[in-house]
């Protein structure tokens, strides 16, 4: 009984940690530019697929990973420079469609380069699972949760202790004021997309050994990240983490106790239910509308 529950919990935390990283990517970009980047999932796809193909070319895993992250970072910057920046004054709906267009474009290129097949990636360390309290845990779980934790700690340090991090925060709070005190807000926007792409690609790499990877995994993973970000409250870093983990655990429990066919439906059901009662997510700011 309990070991079953524990099993689902571990599964939930693993996938939840990935969702949290994607949601943090959404949050970074949303805070800096008030754009919801529907191409966020493509960073994961690039991370996973590029790593797999670099390994296939004979590079060792760490080198392949760095290569994939660099590629995603480049794409993040390109996305901001060539797709988001020129459309400054656009409606939110228009921006949604621009980022979806970008996502389809990236997916189209990936399909061209890597084909339509599924690719698998070996675990980072050993295929022999570990037993914890009756639950069987894939070693990759520790990598996923560990790396996610390190990234979160790194982000906290970056935003509270470094000048650049504080500049990004300042820009997200008040763009004009930030510019007045000499922050180059254009650079900040680019940096936000870059960071977001790096986070996304790392999430894509660490989760690839568990889920397989293909040119079109970005759609669903990206949407789940958006659900996690909205669940926690758009713009809240803590919310992204809580939202991601909640979502992962809800999915794993639904798959375990009800039906794996409806695990995605459960994720979308939870977000609707939460928004009914908390229109700005679990930890979103309760903003008083000024008129």
């Amino acid at each position: 009984m309990f070991s079953e529950f524990l099993q689902y919990l571990f599964t939930g935390i693993t996938i939840g940690a990935t969702y949290a990283l994607i949601a943090l990517g959404f949050t970074l970009i949303y805070n800096a530019s008030h754009v919801i980047n529907f191409a966020q999932g493509e960073f994961l796809m690039i991370g996973g697929m590029a790593t797999v193909s670099l390994i296939g070319l004979g590079f060792p895993l760490p080198v392949a990973m760095v290569g994939a992250i660099l590629l995603a970072a480049l794409m993040g910057i390109a996305l901001q420079r060539f797709a988001i920046a020129p459309a400054k004054q656009a409606d939110p709906v228009t921006l949604i469609i621009i980022t979806i267009g970008a996502a389809i474009f990236i997916r189209g290129i990936a399909q061209l380069v890597w084909g339509r097949g599924y690719h698998s990636m070996p675990n980072f360390s050993g295929d022999v699972p570990v037993r914890i309290g009756g639950a069987v845990v894939n070693t990759q779980t520790f990598w996923v949760v560990g790396i996610a934790a390190v990234l979160v700690a790194g982000l906290v340090f970056f935003f509270t202790k470094t000048m650049i991090g504080k500049a990004i925060l300042a820009t997200s709070m008040n763009k004009v004021a930030a510019r007045l005190v000499g922050i180059k807000t254009d650079m900040v926007l680019m940096l936000a997309f870059l960071l977001s792409a790096v986070l996304g690609s790392i999430a894509g790499i660490i989760v690839a050994p568990i889920t397989f990877t293909s040119y079109d995994i970005g759609i669903m993973l990206g949407l789940k990240g958006f659900v996690a970000a909205a669940l926690g409250g758009l713009g809240s870093g803590m919310g992204a983490i809580v939202g991601g983990l909640t979502l992962g655990i809800v999915e794993a429990m639904t798959a375990g106790y009800i039906s794996s066919d409806y695990k995605d439906a459960a994720a979308f059901g939870v977000i609707i239910l939460v928004l009914f009662f908390m229109p700005r997510g679990l930890m979103g700011a309760r903003v008083v509308e000024r008129v």
Partner: protein
């Protein structure tokens, strides 16, 4: 004289009717007729969606859910329970309207991206259900749908009919039927827009606070337009199912929802003719790009991105503004 004619509120509708009448002269084979009919079905759907997105300014990223519900209601009831198609699609639209009414109340309190999220989630739940309840829907493989019988006529793209002494093919008959539906859809939408209800809807977009302090019950109007647009989608979904003769859950899927919204935004939010243009473009574009095989997806994404970046107001409004500017300049040069 010409000016007063072009400024009449139904001038767009008249132009549309003329285009619908003329198009068959350029079509050569059943495949082209079927594409044209598909354009008409999608166009009518997004004319309804435009009321919600373009006029009332509310995002919906799950509208294909309603389209799919209508399609599957017709498919299941006519094929498994032998219901008559026309009453079925009307009942289906009423039920979908009811669902939209119930879901709309709480969802439409949300704003911006949160509303987008909730509608997206709603659409996904419908899609997942259609996928999983295979005993009823045939699951991911889809299900066949009987032809549309109207007063004993079996309307099928494979048949030919004689009408007033003329021989017309099933494809052409479908084209005319959907042409009439589009005209009807635009007429109703136009009547809604040019009325106090339309004004209230646009005020929700312009300033929700201003609307509420002069007495507009904004939740009620948002819900009303949500229901109306859902009914448009459901009716068109039903007709789509009968027209295609086969449906899969993809017709309720996320990409389909995105394509609907894109038709609205690409054509021009709040411009009825614009969104019809958008529907035509996005329905035909994949056909045009099919020659590029592997490059199709990449080109589609690129075109979407570039059009929206350089024409954020949509194709038709941007073109109109461009022409107006040119004419203005000409008039100035003369003076």
């Amino acid at each position: 004289m010409l000016k007063s004619l072009t400024q009449h509120r139904l001038s767009g509708l008249a132009l549309l009717a003329i285009i619908i009448l003329l198009v068959p002269a350029f079509l050569n084979n059943p495949f082209q007729y079927d594409m044209a009919t598909l354009v008409l079905i999608y166009a009518t759907t997004v004319v309804g969606l435009n009321l919600l997105v373009g006029y009332a300014g509310q995002i919906s990223l799950g509208h294909a859910g309603f389209f799919g519900m209508g399609a599957y209601f017709s498919a299941v009831m006519t094929s498994r329970f032998d219901w008559s198609p026309v009453p079925t699609l009307i009942l289906g639209a009423a039920l979908v309207g009811l669902v939209a009414y119930i879901v709309g109340r709480p969802i439409l309190r949300l704003k911006g991206y949160y509303l987008g999220m909730a509608t997206l989630a709603m659409g996904f739940i419908i899609y997942i259900t259609l996928n999983n309840e295979g005993w009823l829907t045939g699951g991911p493989d889809g299900m066949p749908v009987p032809g549309l019988s109207i007063f004993g006529w079996e309307l099928s793209t494979f048949n030919t009919y004689s009408f007033l002494g003329m021989e017309i093919s099933g494809s052409l008959a479908w084209y005319w039927l959907m042409g009439v539906m589009l005209i009807l859809g635009v007429w109703i939408a136009q009547n809604l827009i040019d009325s106090p209800i339309g004004r209230a809807l646009r005020s929700v977009h312009g300033s929700e606070v201003a609307a509420s302090v002069v007495g507009v019950d904004t939740p009620k109007f948002k819900n009303l337009v949500f229901v109306v647009s859902a009914i448009y989608a459901s009716l068109m979904g039903s007709l789509y199912a009968h027209f295609q003769g086969f449906i899969t859950p993809e017709s309720a899927g996320f990409m389909e929802s995105i394509i609907f919204v894109t038709m609205v935004v690409l054509g021009g939010m709040g411009s009825t003719l614009g969104v019809i243009f958008g529907a035509a473009l996005l329905t035909l574009l994949p056909q045009l790009l099919a020659d590029f095989h592997d490059y199709e997806m990449m080109m589609f994404g690129l075109i979407l991105m570039l059009t929206m970046i350089f024409m954020p107001k949509g194709l038709l409004p941007t073109t109109q503004a461009f022409i107006r500017k040119k004419l203005h300049k000409k008039a100035e040069d003369k003076a």
